[in-house]
Amino acid sequence: MNGVPVSAYLALALILFCIGLYGALTKRNTIIVLISIELMLNAVNINLITFSKMGIAPSITGQIFAVFVIAVAAAEVAVGIAILLALYRNRKTVNIDEMNELKH
């Protein structure tokens, strides 16, 4: 476990972030988009945890931060879903690319 260098964790986080970003930018289904955003946030969490354990100056704050992030992420997605429901009632679709009432 100690053998694993910091950079590996960071790389993992970065990759995860990029995957999330990719998903968020390309998927048609809004649910999946929201999930991808979750991925991005979790990438952040990995970073934070890594640093709090094996950063330059390890400290507990990172983990606290992570907890906050998790909480907030949950709230965010909850709200997202709620809005999506409302939208679904009127629009009968969860496809993000069909949300183009507002443009130009």
Partner: protein, 503 residues
């Protein structure tokens, strides 16, 4: 930690926040338990009152020395005070607008929600403005974001409203993620989330590797936050969301949440990145990266003003104009001159009044007809001359014509951009040129109001609260345009040039 330790903190510093918090809780409960038939407007007045009380409380704190509690996570320095003041004043005005807001299908049962969500959002902005720690800062930010997501989608039955909310959520979350990712690196390198502590460790830093990482974090945070400012590159959500959201919410987004965005931007950037030495060891990173910010500012101004030329929908038009104004403010931020704080503060002050005033009239004219086409302003001068003239005042101020607060604000920003050396001639020129371009669309509205035959028949009756807003805004816009020294003196006497920002 035990109770007396808890009590030993000087909670008085958080008085305004507490007031808003209490009001929020109160409203929630009231909204829950009040019988359905009671008009929820009353809640609005309560909220308004609470904001006024908060302002009063803040006024009481003005004299206070800089103080921080909860281990420097919450600091009340003059910077925080000054901008909290703006936030509170802005919110108060927006609340007045909201009280008179009557969309076609009505808000009926959600009206209650509106007020307490609004207050939580406000609370978020206040916490942001006086947070001394990345975590509080982030929490405040999210508090604002999440409440405003819901606010944007408040008109559940209205497709546009839903859609704008959805777009807002998605873009918002992504921006949050990016910001956080940047912050995570900051934390990683400093091992702390307390701004002061971070700054302390960073000053001693000189490993180019880290510096690059910090640069990375810098850009991530900046881009992430540019979502809140609605500035390039994260500006494109603004027009759609502004158009779809209920008008008071649009007003809130374009004024309060924008100010909050700047507050947090300055907080983070200035306190952290001005501490980091670039590889040459002398110039702080913030100054090293000035050109990038300047570039973004320029693009923001250009995009905002050019695209606005095409808009027929008044709310979209103001969305773009607000983008442009974000650009102007960024110019001041780029310059980092002695007068940066003054100029940004004053410009925001002016912006609060002129923009909210404009939105008041927009709400007045558009909500009744249910469409936001600019054509509805045609012949407003015939329908309601005084209203038209008031609108003209706001527009002139937005366009930066002398005699109005907007002009002095711009002047101040120019001065900042030119008094530093090397002077930002290009940036200043772009700013000035784009504001001339902005004449096209601002005076387009004038043309509609004054030159064209009247579109709608029937008189416009102006509700009390809106009247109040209009009077306050118009008066302030002109007063600060003619007698700006009032504002400046206030600034000088109470905030002492924000010297305690770093301390």
């Amino acid at each position: 930690m035990d109770l007396e330790k808890l009590l030993s903190f000087d909670w008085g510093l958080m008085a305004p926040e507490f007031i808003i918090l209490i009001a929020t809780v109160l409203l929630t409960l009231l909204d829950l338990f009040l019988p359905k038939k009671v008009n929820r407007r009353i809640l609005g007045w309560i909220a308004f009152a609470s904001v006024l009380v908060a302002i009063a409380a803040l006024g009481g704190l003005l004299g206070e020395q800089v103080g921080s509690i909860l281990h420097d996570t919450f600091r009340l320095d003059s910077f925080a005070k000054a901008f909290k003041l703006l936030l509170l004043v802005g919110s108060a005005l927006v609340l007045l607008l909201a009280i008179d807001y009557q969309p076609k299908e009505g808000l009926n049962e959600y009206r209650g929600e509106f007020y307490y969500l609004f207050l939580t959002g406000l609370l978020g902005t206040m916490i942001m403005s006086s947070s001394g720690d990345l975590i509080t800062l982030f929490v405040g930010l999210e508090l604002l974001s999440i409440s405003s997501y819901i606010l944007a989608g408040l008109r559940k039955k209205n497709l546009k409203s839903n859609e704008s909310a959805m777009k807002y959520v998605i873009n918002g979350s992504i921006s949050t993620a990016i910001t956080l990712f940047g912050m995570s690196y900051l934390y990683g390198i400093t091992g702390s989330t307390n701004l002061k502590a971070m700054a302390g460790t960073l000053t001693t830093l000189n490993d180019p590797q880290y510096i690059y990482l910090l640069g990375l974090s810098f850009f991530m945070i900046f881009v992430g936050l540019s979502f809140k400012l609605a500035s390039v590159p994260f500006h494109m959500w603004a027009p759609d969301v502004y158009e779809g959201a209920p008008t008071p919410v649009t007003a809130f987004l374009s004024v309060v949440s924008k100010i909050a965005g700047f507050v947090i931007l300055i907080r983070v950037m200035v306190s952290i990145y001005s501490a980091i030495p670039m590889e040459d060891g002398t110039t702080p990173m913030l100054f090293g990266l000035q050109d990038f910010i300047g570039f973004l500012a320029a693009v923001t101004m250009i995009v905002g003003n050019l695209v606005a030329l095409r808009q027929r929908n008044i709310k979209r038009l103001f969305a773009y104009s607000s983008i442009a104004h974000a650009g102007y403010l960024l110019v001041a931020f780029t310059a980092m001159s002695y007068v940066m704080f003054d100029s940004i503060w004053f410009y925001m002050l002016a912006y609060v009044f002129m923009n909210l005033g404009a939105f008041a009239i927009i709400q007045l004219v558009t909500t009744k007809v249910g469409s936001e086409d600019i054509a509805h302003f045609a012949g407003l001068y015939r329908r309601a001359p005084i209203l038209a003239v008031t609108m003209a005042v706001f527009i002139l101020s937005l366009a930066g014509i002398p005699g109005t607060a907007g002009f002095i604000g711009k002047l101040n920003i120019f001065l900042g951009a030119l008094m530093v050396s090397p002077s930002h001639y290009v940036l200043a020129s772009i700013m000035i040129a784009t504001s001339v371009i902005s004449y096209f669309y601002y005076f387009g509205i004038m043309t509609q109001m004054f030159f064209r035959p009247r579109a709608e028949e029937g008189k416009l009756k102006v509700p009390a609260a809106t009247t109040a807003v209009l009077i306050i805004c118009a008066a302030a816009t002109i007063l600060f345009g003619v007698m700006p020294q009032l504002a400046f003196d206030f600034l000088q006497s109470n905030f002492n040039q924000f010297l305690d920002f770093m301390g």
